[in-house]
């Protein structure tokens, strides 16, 4: 392949996946195609997501990363003109088949959005919403416990424990996003999908969330879409690079950023475009 000039490459600081654990496949996707009406947004994506790891999806704007992310919890169903083709399996079962109920799926695969979107309710009610509707907890004590646990896991408990009745929309941007993460955690998902969770936040809030993501990795599988390569390098163990609807390259984060195989990957990483 010849000498690749990596002098502009990104510093990888994320913890590496431990080599000894046999990583179980959480999501197994093959030949994923997504159409918005006549326009095709994803072309034949083959990607595996492993359990208890952070997988980052990177690439320039409009390359299909968010689209792919949303296929994993069938959020694309809410868009009328969107059609999804291919095999997307969660723990071995195709999530677009009749065997999987979409409501159940979304309880198992949670989502955090780009712009924090807490409900116009109190902090307590924001967290309690999910467990209540799913019937996971019904008594006040159970819900109190879940609220405290979720907020603790989202490292927000100390800051809000005395003001749980205040509206969730009254928090700062970073706190709101952590609230949304706590809200997602409250339904005990197995996977958390994050769609550019820090793009609307300042650097300090971003750093806190990145810390949080690393802590969450022990209990959840995380897939994060980010337009910042540095962020991917800081938090993820595996990285997948998308370009114009194609999955160009996927691999261990360290290898992607130091020895990419594809020229396009290298161009993107070294900042030639995007």
């Amino acid at each position: 392949m010849g000498e690749i000039d990596m002098s502009n490459s990104v510093q990888v600081t994320a913890p590496v996946a431990s080599a000894d654990a046999a990583r179980e496949t959480k999501f197994h996707t093959r030949g994923v195609q997504v159409f918005y009406g006549e326009k095709q947004a994803l072309f034949d994506v083959d990607l595996d997501i492993y359990e208890n790891e952070v997988t980052a999806l990177i690439g320039p704007s409009g390359c299909g990363k968010s689209t792919y992310l949303r296929t994993l919890n069938r959020m694309n169903d809410t868009i009328d003109i969107c059609r999804v083709k291919g095999k997307i399996e969660l723990d071995g079962t195709d999530i677009y088949s009749d065997k999987i109920d979409v409501v159940h799926l979304r309880a198992r695969v949670g989502m955090v959005f780009q712009k924090p979107n807490p409900f116009p309710k109190s902090i307590y009610e924001n967290i309690a919403y999910g467990p209540r509707i799913h019937g996971i907890a019904t008594s006040k004590e159970d819900i109190d416990q879940i609220v405290e646990e979720s907020l603790t896991k989202a490292s927000l408990w100390e800051e809000v424990k005395d003001r749980l009745e205040e509206p969730g929309t009254g928090l700062s941007g970073g706190q709101q996003q952590r609230l949304c993460i706590a809200r997602a955690i409250a339904v005990q998902p197995e996977v958390i999908l994050m769609d550019e969770p820090c793009s609307a936040l300042d650097p300090i809030a971003t750093a806190r969330i990145e810390e949080l993501i690393d802590e969450l990795r022990d209990n959840f599988t995380i897939v994060i879409v980010t337009h910042s390569m540095q962020q991917a390098a800081r938090v993820s163990q595996r990285t997948a690079f998308f370009h114009l609807g194609d999955l160009v390259e996927v691999g261990e984060t360290g290898k992607i950023f130091t020895t990419p195989r594809d020229q396009r990957t290298q161009d993107y990483i070294t900042g030639r475009f995007g």
Partner: protein, 460 residues
């Protein structure tokens, strides 16, 4: 001198002024428009405005005030004994004079004094009309001559014309305020005259409504009760029935159309629901009286209930149908205004559509929905024709929708549509009722608008 004729003459003069002005401007610039400050037609408008505005003002003011002034003159020329008489008697006499002068039937015999007064009335009006016409001609021509004399290539005709146009625009805007002032003043003024005869306390808190006044103090039926509480209760009862119909149907329709319906269905159904709003209320009233009331009465007989043929239920039901688009249209807007991100957040957690609507969207949209309900209630309270045609005329203080009740608006109509002397407490009561109606609906509207606007701010 008919009004149309004078108006026609005025318009002709103004148009003539336009052409005269325009030709003069070209003439003063030696035939070419280049030397003029403004385009030639502006000079035409300049002259036309100088002619048109004063003459139009004269026409308007003179026509509006000519009848009251003539009547004042005629009245002051009547013999002494008539002037000292009772005011009710005086307005009867004035009515007679008016009717006799225009060739209609009069109420009493024609005394020589009345005949002379009527002759004077007619001749005064004729003279006035002629004088108006002459004045307009004179002023118009003089204005044209004056304005034309001012035309010069250096005259900034466009600026002057535009300033005048701006003044006209401002006046038009003020007319809207004048309307409100007019409404408030006329209602307050007439209500004040009413409250001189009937105490406000009796009116607002009295429980008996049987408005009668005697023309002479010795007539039977001189006792009248003007307690408006039965009317308020009747209005509220019928509005309540209406909202029981329109509230659920309107809100659920709005939810379905905003969240569930495919685009084509929404595009077809929304205008259809607007049809309900466009049907004249007299049609609804007829429908209520013709079909709904008899149907309900028959159903009542079938079920063993005694449902009046003028029941609050019938009127309220039909009024509810009329109000459905008010609730559904406004609620649809506020539901759509809830940001999509909230819906996505809820779906992402695994909520079903109905759970998202019930627990996230409706609470978020609640202020707006409450506002829309308030506007609908305000509309129901102010509605006239449906209740006039389908509800009762007798005041009845009850909470039972199967009985006949009457409302504020029905009473306003009943009190004024008839051959009533204008000064009696009976007709003035209508104005007092109108004042209450105006104030209540105004408050409801202001609060509703404030609530809806505050809600919109939250999401914009």
């Amino acid at each position: 001198m008919s009004f149309t004729f004078v108006l026609g003459a005025l318009i002709t003069l103004t148009v003539a002024g336009f052409y005269l002005g325009r030709s003069r401007s070209l003439a003063s610039a030696g035939g070419s428009a280049v030397r003029l400050h403004s385009r030639p037609h502006y000079y035409g408008y300049f002259v036309a405005l100088w002619c048109g505005i004063p003459t139009l003002l004269i026409l308007g003011v003179w026509t509006m005030f000519q009848t009251p002034i003539v009547e004042m003159i005629v009245q002051s020329n009547l013999p002494e004994r008539m002037l000292e008489g009772d005011p009710a008697q005086m307005s009867l006499v004035m009515n007679d004079i008016r009717n006799f002068a225009s060739g209609n039937i009069t109420s009493g015999e024609i005394t020589p004094a009345v005949q002379a007064a009527a002759d004077q009335y007619t001749s005064l009006l004729q003279v006035s009309g002629l004088a108006k016409f002459v004045l307009i001609l004179v002023v118009g021509i003089a204005a044209i001559a004056y304005a034309r004399g001012k035309i010069d290539p250096a005259l900034r005709a466009r600026n002057q014309v535009e300033k005048t146009m701006m003044a006209i625009l401002i006046v038009c805007s003020v007319i809207a305020i004048l309307t409100t002032i007019g409404i408030v003043m006329s209602l307050v003024f007439e209500s004040y005259r009413f409250f001189e005869k009937v105490s406000p306390v009796e009116f607002l808190f009295g429980l008996e409504w049987s408005p009668q006044t005697a023309l002479r103090s010795d007539q039977v039926g001189a006792s009248g009760a003007f307690g408006a509480i039965p009317l308020f209760v009747g209005t509220l009862l019928i509005s309540f029935v209406a909202m029981c119909v329109a509230g659920p149907i309107g809100l659920l329709s709005a939810i379905y159309m905003a969240e569930y319906a495919p685009l084509k269905v929404r595009g077809a159904v929304k205008p259809l629901l607007e049809v309900l709003a466009g049907i004249p209320t007299v049609v609804y009233g007829f429908f209520a009286a013709l079909t709904v009331a008899p149907f309900l009465r028959d159903q009542g007989t079938f079920l063993g209930l005694d449902i009046s043929s003028e029941s609050a239920l019938a009127a309220g039901l039909v009024m509810g149908i009329m109000i459905i688009p008010f609730v559904s249209s406004l609620s649809d807007d506020v539901i759509n205004a809830v940001p999509q991100s909230l819906r996505e957040g809820s779906y992402g957690l695994g909520a079903t559509k109905s759970e998202t609507i019930k627990r996230v969207i409706l609470p978020a949209a609640l202020p707006g929905i409450v506002g829309s309900f308030m506007l609908a209630i305000s509309r129901a309270i102010g509605e006239t024709m449906i209740v006039v045609m389908a509800a009762g005329l007798g005041a009845n203080l009850t909470a039972n929708p199967l009985e006949a009740v009457t409302t504020v608006t029905v009473q306003i109509v009943t009190l004024l549509v008839g051959d009533q002397e204008f000064d009696s407490a009976k007709t003035l009561a209508a104005f007092a009722l109108g004042l209450v109606l105006f104030c209540v609906t105004l408050c409801l509207n202001i609060i509703a608008m404030a609530v809806v606007n505050k809600y919109r701010e939250q999401y914009d």
